[in-house]
Amino acid sequence: MPHVKCLQCRECKSEYPVEPLNVCEFCFGPLEVSYDYHSVAKSVSRKSIESGPNTMWRYHDFLPVEKDSAVDISTGFTPLIHAKNLGRQLGLDHLYIKNDSVNPTFSFKDRPVSVTTTKALEFEFEVLACVSTGNLMGSVAAHGAKAGMETIVFYPADLEQGKIQGAAVYGPTMVAVEGTYDQANRFCSELADAHRWAFVNINMRPYYAEGSKTLGYEVAEQLGWKAPDHCVVPGASGELHTKIWKGLEEFEGAGLIDKAKTKMHLAQAEGCAPIVEAFESGNNQVKPVRPKTIAKSLAIGNPAAGPYSLEVLRDTGGTGIFAYENSIIDGIRLLAETEGIFTETAGGVVISSLKRLVKQGKIKKDEVTVAFVTGNGLKTLETMGDFVAPIETKPDLDTFQTKLSSRKD
């Protein structure tokens, strides 16, 4: 970990040693990992990165962990696809899809969790824990299994069975928490204080958040070592949005790419868009909301990184935009039907929001645009509804041909 300087408060800038801490003791602001970028710049080059593994760990010098200790289940270096068909429909010549739904547990969460699990072992934690309603729990359970750690996954008691099984298969202790969402939220926050566990998105949050930067690095490298003109990023806590930008800025600082002039757009669902609402009203405070959206993986009503995401929107000239609830499934189907990529509801939010951005003239035809698809569609099959209308036929050629012709008419 030669390049990490300390943890630093995002608010008052107080500095702390590299320990499992997430909150400033002085102002209770969130902590973030601070690096010696001069040292990073001296040790990395395009060549050194290109000779690394085909995973997110090729960017090891930018991550807050020791060398050669990574808990890696082959996460990252996911495809960046030139989406010509979708681009044609939307009127974009250079539209790319960053398909992070092909990670080992089928979402981008493998990136932050890989970093966190590695760091948890360095801190000699024996227990890895999280509280989640979906993607995060599967990733934590998988990484806990790989690391040989005891793993505990908390989830709201009314969670869908499919999501529970998707995590349980890796063998963690599963804990169903009764009560309201708010009660579960407060309970788990207190649990993190009461046990010496590596709670990935609580006491390990500064390290957890760093993993998402690798999406920014990958996009820049895959575009031929340059930052795109636009990124369209799904927004839940707002952390992914800030960290992709941090990744681009770090690459620029290390001299790996020219100045990043990327407009960092944030896409939320209409039924849970607290950051977008603050952006639209010109506020720098994010007013918490009660989520009411089919995009469950984005249903964070009180986003921890909301104010920082707003800063990124304003600093980069990005737009906070929401997808109408009734357009989310359309977005999923549009991506599937044009590019052969089946994404979950968060991806539907991104594609529908992208459409709105183009319509509003925020993205021009010849600009390089990257839309981030962060989870696999098989995770939210229940939201797709009954949209299949098959041709029903007897096993008879004539009947089939007649029915096929009438369908085409």
């Binding site: 999280c130 788990c188 806590s237 918490p288």
Partner: protein
């Protein structure tokens, strides 16, 4: 005795209510504000509460009953 770190978010109609004062006077809870931002249309306060465990819980239930939102200081930690 316990200490709890929480964030209160005040809707516009409650900004002028002395909620934190009442936590001290009516419940005997020691309050220590660390960060705050109060605007015309909303406000939030990040603070530490110290008192007997059941009294702090009772105080927080009362705060919630007034319409003030109470969250852990790290925001929503349940992720998708």
């Amino acid at each position: 005795m316990v200490t709890k770190r929480v964030k209160f978010t005040f809707p516009q109609e409650l900004i002028k209510e002395p909620v934190i004062y009442k936590l001290g006077v009516d419940f005997g809870i020691v309050t220590n504000i660390r960060r705050a931002d109060i605007r015309d249309d909303m406000g939030w306060v990040v603070l530490e509460l110290e008192g007997e465990s059941d009294v702090v819980d009772e105080g927080l239930e009362w705060v919630i009953s007034t319409g003030v939102r109470v969250d852990p200081i790290a925001g929503d930690i349940i992720e998708g």
